[in-house]
């Protein structure tokens, strides 16, 4: 019984460490309504240039850029896990943050600028 509990404990630790390594917080769940939101700037690819500017100012320190991968536990935004998220989910995560895991809320940026960020993050997808 004791050995089984120990094994379960080790497994739980390993899973949580793997999740932490991947920078994913399983309790940070995006509401379904938010996931379905569409990017209003989708048809304006030029807006991504503005997104890059905001990205450099607010995101690079933790997430790194297209040349340099992440600099701490923050996930690489070009990774498949992040890129698999719908636009609405990325927008929600940027807007709400997750203060328990060190991700600030960027609700102080106007909504269009947060959508610009989403647009730019799409361009980071690994080719």
């Amino acid at each position: 019984m004791g050995a089984r509990l120990l094994a379960v404990g080790i497994l739980a630790c390993a899973v949580s460490m793997a999740v932490a390594q991947a920078g994913v917080d399983p309790s940070w769940v995006v509401p379904e309504k938010a996931r379905q939101q569409q990017n209003p700037l989708k048809d304006k690819p030029d807006a991504a240039l503005g997104g890059k500017k905001i990205f450099t100012r607010t995101c690079v320190t933790c997430h790194g850029d297209e040349k340099n991968a992440r600099k701490n536990n923050a996930p690489n935004l070009g990774s498949e896990v992040v890129q698999a998220e719908p636009d609405g989910a990325l927008f929600w995560r940027i807007s709400n943050g997750n203060s328990r895991k060190g991700m600030p809320s960027f609700s102080s940026l106007p909504e269009p600028q947060r959508w610009q960020l989403v647009l730019y993050i799409r361009s980071l997808a690994r080719k």
Partner: protein, 289 residues
Amino acid sequence: MRSFLAVLALLVASVVSSAAQGTPYFTTYDHTMEEPGNLELSTQTVIGLQKHDLPTYWAPLVEMEYGLTGWWSTALYLEGASANHDATVFTGYRLENRWKPLKSEHRINPVLYFEFEDIRGASRIQKEIVGFDGAQEERIRDQHGEREREIEGKLILSSNAKGWNIAENLIFEKNLSAFDEPTEFGYSFGVSRPLAMLASGKDCKFCRENFAAGVEMYGGLGDWDRFSLRDAAHYVAPVLAWQLGNSQQLKVSPGFGISSASQRMLLRFGYTYEIHGFGRMVSQMFGGK
């Protein structure tokens, strides 16, 4: 003169080495926390223009704020005061902590604030107005011997919607050095908005999105014995901030006194520089990853 130069050197050194992005407020706090691991260095200066031929004074403040976690920011303030034909003095320090209890964004976001102050009676910075704070009639040199140890709490409520920020602060302050004095109360309210909602693709200093404007209103609410707006100082202050690149911000605010207890004007200037990833840099210096 030597102490004046010392305060000036402190101010200039902090400007050269240093400030951040955020709302343009001077006295109102919103729910934006310092990003974890970032160090924000800033200077603020208040020029107090008084009524009834009372002397104009100048009060500089240096702030070092660090993001300990996503929900906890801590700061140290050093302040001074100066007036013509009077004195230039260091007026003490303040230790500030802010905690954001809720994990994500809500319609109204509360933040709890606690500050310990060890300051002189000559303090002129007026980071907040409480009680029946009013004209500065006494000379700085006469007040410099008065030591005040105070604790201050704030309930910060703040909302972001459609590019606007609206923030309300309720303030209480207790002088621990004179425990029989009643607890004082104050308020600060701010509303602001960036001048453009979309970021342009150009790398520009004067683009509208780099500017944010708004207005603050702050003042005293009396004390425990007499909770009142009357006989307290109140100010209305337009605010303007200019984001210079990724790490620097300049801001200015003329605060107009609107009650008989107010000073004529509190003219505030601020400069902020943010050092991104400061915690990581320090950690690496000591062999961390």
